[in-house]
């Protein structure tokens, strides 16, 4: 499925990823954890193809080299990024946006486009998954959405786009426990043998709901430790300090303090 080999990424001359290796098999869910500034989001954007990064190394999805592709081509190849901060697009109807997204990808793959009526049916099913009300579709994309609504909208998009590889960047940030449950429920429903996921998070609590097959610790732009879900539990108790050989300047000392309740 996904092979990441010696991936480096720099932005504005600052090196952020320092030779990252990762293998993700079909149907697997990998959690990536790490302190602030360790390169988690950069990794997500390097996979999705955001402009402005100087990257090297190789990334292949189903044998196709992603790094030379434009973001929209990667989307067509099956890469989906659930944004940490979903972007607002005022005046653009959410339903229209979703259908355009789905049809853009279908068009790029040479598939027939979905008409408005058929799409509405599919969209309604997907909305049930994340417990969204119908009026969501009539609102402008993310404009005036609460934090929880934005994140649910991301999962809705994932459900509609049916990606091969879903990267969820801090999907749990800013969520209360009820919203977290809903979102995790949606994500779990979308797990399948043909879909791989990379779940990026600071905190272990998300992994109570989305059980990863593997957990990786990302520090200073490379993966320093990999294991199963017990690694996340270890991090909960001990923090990242043991993986970092310098002071954690911007990470909380105990990332999980007060979260587990």
């Amino acid at each position: 499925m996904l092979h990441v080999n010696n991936l480096t990424a720099a932005i504005g001359g600052k090196q952020i990823l320092n030779g990252l290796d990762l293998e993700v098999g079909a149907g697997e869910v990998h959690a990536i954890m790490g302190p602030n500034g360790s390169g988690k989001s950069t990794f997500a954007h390097a996979l999705a193809g955001r402009d402005g990064y100087e990257v090297s190394g190789t990334v292949t999805l189903d044998g196709v080299d992603l790094l030379d592709m434009e973001p929209e081509a990667r989307a067509a190849a099956g890469v989906f990024l659930g944004f940490q901060y979903p972007v607002e697009i005022p005046g653009v109807n959410n339903m229209y946006f979703l259908r355009t997204a789905v049809n853009s990808v279908r068009r790029a793959r040479g598939e027939t486009e979905v008409g408005a009526r058929d799409f509405l049916k599919v969209a309604k099913e997907a909305m049930d998954l994340v417990e969204m009300k119908q009026d969501f579709l009539d609102r402008a994309v993310n404009a005036g959405f609460s934090g929880g609504e934005k994140k649910r909208n991301e999962i809705l998009q994932m459900a509609l786009m049916q990606p091969r590889l879903a990267i969820l960047d801090e999907t749990d940030s800013g969520l209360d426990i009820d919203a977290l449950r809903v979102i995790a429920g949606g994500v779990n429903a979308l797990r399948g043998p043909e879909r791989s996921m990379i779940v990026i998070t600071h905190y272990q609590r998300l992994l109570d709901y989305i059980k990863p097959d593997f957990v990786h610790v990302l520090v200073d732009g490379r993966i320093v430790e990999s294991g199963d879900h017990t690694l996340a539990l270890h991090l909960e108790d001990h923090g990242y300090a043991s993986f970092v050989n310098h002071d954690l300047d911007d990470a909380p000392e105990r990332p999980l303090t007060g979260v587990q309740s």
Binding site: A48, G49, R50, D51, G52, E70, P71, E72, R74, A75, A76, V79, F80, L81, F83, P86, V87, I89, P90, G91, V92, F97, T100, A101, V102, S104, V105, A108, A140, V141, Q157, M161
Partner: protein
């Protein structure tokens, strides 16, 4: 000539009809403007004496006026002596098929999704397939006639309804109003006249009909719409199709009169030739548009301005009657080297008058876009309210957006709100859309159309769709 073809001719070449019957080819006035030219125009059009006097008064006024220089526009000097103010309209060659039409224009037709029969009409292609539209047009005419609505060329109106024209012409935009209005009043060639009798709701949007009709609008166009008490009309001027014209200077005047409880909705889509990337060519568009709203009347202007090298235009409402309502919804796009200085004037005179201004300016490439708007509340206007929202969108680093609101309030009970924003299409927004599979151009088009949503919502349905496409097509190549 078959009956159907003749109808089309009348439709598409209405400028030729009256006063142009003699010796078309040789009737061209020498360049320059003096009293004899004004007299020539009037006599060629067989106009009554009062109209000639009116024109001459306008000409005298114009001579004493200076070209306005307060707009934020850089314009090469216009040589008014080099323009010929009366020329027999050129007969457009009739083409055999769409293959003979300029490929660029054909391409644009396709992108805009204009139906084939309309494409043919707009490009003067002679075909039988037009029959469809002819019957449609004839039906239009009959329907309007039954309702008592008068809709004809200005020349026809002068001939057939002289009292109506005389009563209202210049009643909203006086001949001395401004330099370009005075010029238009002196030399206007033709235009449209629309009259809605008391209590009549015009049975259709005057749009499709007008679109076909509008292709031969002159350089100095004059429009007058009179809506009697309790009547209603929605009028659409212009066309999303590309419009080429050899006349560089256009100075039109539009006057609207909404009597008690009447409603006029006036929508414009302007797509004149904008000139090239280096600012060569393109139309200079100096337009005076104003409506007078009587008691409980409503006048609503909606405009989508994507063409012209220079746009100088302030569709305004005089809120004269108590509880009258004025609205202005505008999208102005400046690409290439286009400059637009546009906005509105809302003059509150009556009590409890309300005005709304929603302006969306988009600047791309080297475009310069200025919103200039006046909200004036006179002492008599108790409880006047205005809401103004001016949003500017910048695409690129070399363009500019400017917002210049003027607020003059003489009545302390007025409530005036003004909101303004300037934004750019963010990298973030583009990236987000592209991550969802859209190309950069599609994403840009979607974001820009979203920005204009509130204005497009005011357009008649099928035109809203075309306006969106027009915006996308106009923006092509401005991305990145």
């Amino acid at each position: 000539m078959s009956e159907s073809t003749r109808t089309i001719e009348e439709l598409t070449e209405s400028d030729y009809e009256f006063g142009f019957s003699t010796d078309l080819d040789t009737d061209i006035a020498p360049p320059g403007l003096d009293e004899s030219v004004v007299r020539l125009i009037s006599s060629k059009k067989d106009e009554p004496e009062w109209l000639l006097e009116w024109r001459l008064k306008a000409y005298e006024a114009w001579r004493a006026m200076e070209e306005p220089d307060w707009a934020k526009l850089e314009i090469a000097p216009i040589d008014y002596e080099a323009i010929s103010y009366w020329a027999a309209p050129k007969q457009k060659p009739i083409l055999d098929s769409m293959d003979d039409v300029d490929p660029d224009i054909r391409d644009m037709f396709d992108k805009l999704g204009i139906p084939l029969h309309e494409q043919k009409m707009l490009s003067n292609v002679a075909v039988d397939a037009i029959v469809d539209s002819v019957s449609v047009t004839t039906t239009f005419k009959e329907t309007l006639l039954e309702a008592g609505v008068i809709f004809c060329s200005f020349s026809e109106a002068v001939r057939d309804y002289p009292e109506l024209v005389r009563e209202h012409l210049g009643s909203v935009v006086p001949v001395r109003d401004n330099f370009f209005a005075a010029l238009n009043s002196a030399v206007f060639s033709d235009g449209s006249f629309c009259y809605i009798p008391k209590g009549v709701r015009c049975p259709m949007e005057l749009s499709t009909y007008f679109r076909i009709n509008s292709m031969n609008t002159g350089q100095f166009e004059r429009t007058l719409i009179v809506a009697e008490d309790d009547s209603h009309v929605s009028y659409l001027e212009g066309c999303t199709a590309p419009q080429r014209d050899e006349n560089q200077l256009h100075a039109a005047v539009v006057e609207l009169v909404a009597k008690d409880r009447a409603e006029i909705k006036y929508s414009t889509v302007q797509n004149w030739y904008p000139g090239d990337e280096n600012g060569v060519g393109g139309i200079y568009n100096f337009v005076t548009k104003r409506g007078r709203a009587h008691t409980d009347a409503k006048i609503s202007w909606t405009q989508v301005e994507t063409g012209s090298a220079i746009t100088w235009k302030y569709p305004s409402v005089i809120l004269q009657g108590d509880r009258s309502i004025g609205e202005f919804y505008s999208v102005a796009l400046s690409c290439k080297r286009q400059q637009a200085d546009t906005g509105t004037k809302m003059i509150h005179i009556g009590k409890d008058t309300t005005s709304t201004i929603i302006s969306k300016g988009i600047s791309a490439a080297h475009g310069q876009n200025t919103y200039r708007g006046l909200v004036k509340v006179l002492r008599s206007a108790e409880n006047a309210r205005n809401y103004t929202q001016c949003d500017s969108l910048l695409l690129g680093k070399d363009c500019g957006a400017h917002t210049i609101p003027y607020i003059e309030v003489k009545n302390p009970g007025a409530q005036i709100e003004h909101e303004a924003s300037t934004s750019t299409v963010g990298e973030d927004q583009l990236y987000y859309c592209r991550q969802r599979g859209m190309t950069e151009e599609d994403a840009m088009s979607m974001i820009v159309n979203g920005f204009c949503r509130e204005v497009f919502n005011e357009l008649p349905m099928e035109f809203a769709v075309e306006a969106q496409r027009l915006l996308s097509v106009s923006l092509e190549g401005s991305v990145g």
